[in-house]
């Protein structure tokens, strides 16, 4: 008998096979190992893009790298943050590629999607939150940044009400970054698993009906996998774009 919830949880949730070093427990989980592998792959890809060789492959990689950085600069950073965002281009390039590779890794069999873990997306959103606050302090100073939380033209007696609202709004924006990526990736993989499980659940009732259900279920599975591929790119793009917009709002708050 298939336990649907257990099967889905087993494939989606993280598993801790932590090691003990003396009395210290190192929480080594499937997600942390996957994240480490993705980081190593990204480092390799980055090095290949940065290398200036004469072979066709080297030139191809450096051209892809240049196009990618150009797209990030002209499509995300400058429209969102203006020319002031140029020093932060490297952060956005890293962020986009990391999220994209993490999302795509989940489509490889036996590899878990690390972005379906709220701790991972929360950490990424926290990095973006730190960047937003840093931009505010860098371009306005500490006092100026605090002043940006009060919109121009606000009557003085409304300031004690508006100030906390604006601060909470900023915190909510950062939370929303984490929740959106997490929810999209988690739900996508749950749908994929659920579609597969339909075959086995119906197959338990009747083998012929299970075989019949396999055809539409696999068709839907292929469609959803293609959709997941689109979502992987889209969510990486949206996360990066929103970070640049929020940072731009802080920079151009006057």
């Amino acid at each position: 008998m298939i336990e649907v919830s257990e099967t889905i949880a087993h494939h989606i949730l993280d598993h801790d096979f932590g090691v003990m070093v003396g009395t210290l427990h190192l929480p080594l989980t499937v997600h942390t190992v996957t994240m480490f592998c993705i980081s190593v792959v990204l480092l390799g890809v980055g090095m290949l893009m940065a290398r200036r060789g004469k072979s066709v492959f080297s030139r191809l990689m450096s051209t892809i790298g240049e196009e990618y950085v150009g797209f990030m600069r002209d499509g995300i950073v400058v429209p969102g943050m203006g020319q002031e965002g140029r020093p932060f281009l490297s952060y956005f390039c890293t962020l986009f590629l990391f999220i994209l590779f993490s999302n795509l890794a989940g489509l490889i069999p036996e590899v878990k999607t690390i972005t379906s873990n709220i701790a991972v997306t929360g950490a990424l959103a926290l990095c973006s939150g730190v960047l937003i606050v840093y931009c505010g302090i860098k371009f306005h100073g500490v006092v100026g940044f605090i002043k940006t939380f009060v919109p121009g033209g606000t009557p003085w007696w409304l300031v004690p009400l508006i100030f906390p609202l604006e601060v909470i709004s900023l915190i909510i924006r950062v939370c929303v970054l984490a929740i959106r990526l997490f929810a999209n990736m988690l739900s996508g993989h749950m749908v994929l698993l659920s579609l597969l499980l339909i075959i086995f659940i119906i197959g338990q009732m009747s083998k012929i009906a299970g075989t019949g259900a396999a055809i539409p279920a696999m068709g839907l599975e292929i469609f959803m996998t293609c959709l997941e591929l689109l979502v992987a790119f889209l969510q990486a793009y949206v996360f990066t774009l929103l970070t640049s917009i929020y940072a731009g709002l802080v920079i151009h708050s006057h």
Binding site: G75, P79, G80, P151, L165, I168, S169, I172, R173, C175, V176, I179, R180, V238, L241, L242, I245, L249
Partner: protein, 78 residues
């Protein structure tokens, strides 16, 4: 009345508004519920939390609308 033209940035900002509103209400509800549990004030903490969250959500939506109106003035507002 002609609206726009809108850029990808505008669409991203609009698409995030619903979630921001939901998170604001959820945050207010959670805060109110926490107050009810700790100060035995049920159901007033949750009621006030939900209303405060709703007000915060509305504030976020209106502020975003103001920003977009300022960035893309229509024929009426020019």
């Amino acid at each position: 009345m002609k609206l726009g033209p809108f850029a990808a940035q505008d669409f991203a900002a609009i698409s995030t508004l619903g979630l921001e509103f939901a998170v604001a209400v959820a945050l207010g509800t959670a805060g109110g519920y926490w107050a009810d549990v700790h100060y035995q004030s049920a159901p007033w903490g949750t009621v006030i939390g939900v209303l405060a969250g709703f007000a915060l959500g509305m504030y976020i939506v209106v502020r975003q609308a103001q920003r977009m109106s300022a960035a893309h003035p229509t024929e009426k507002t020019k």
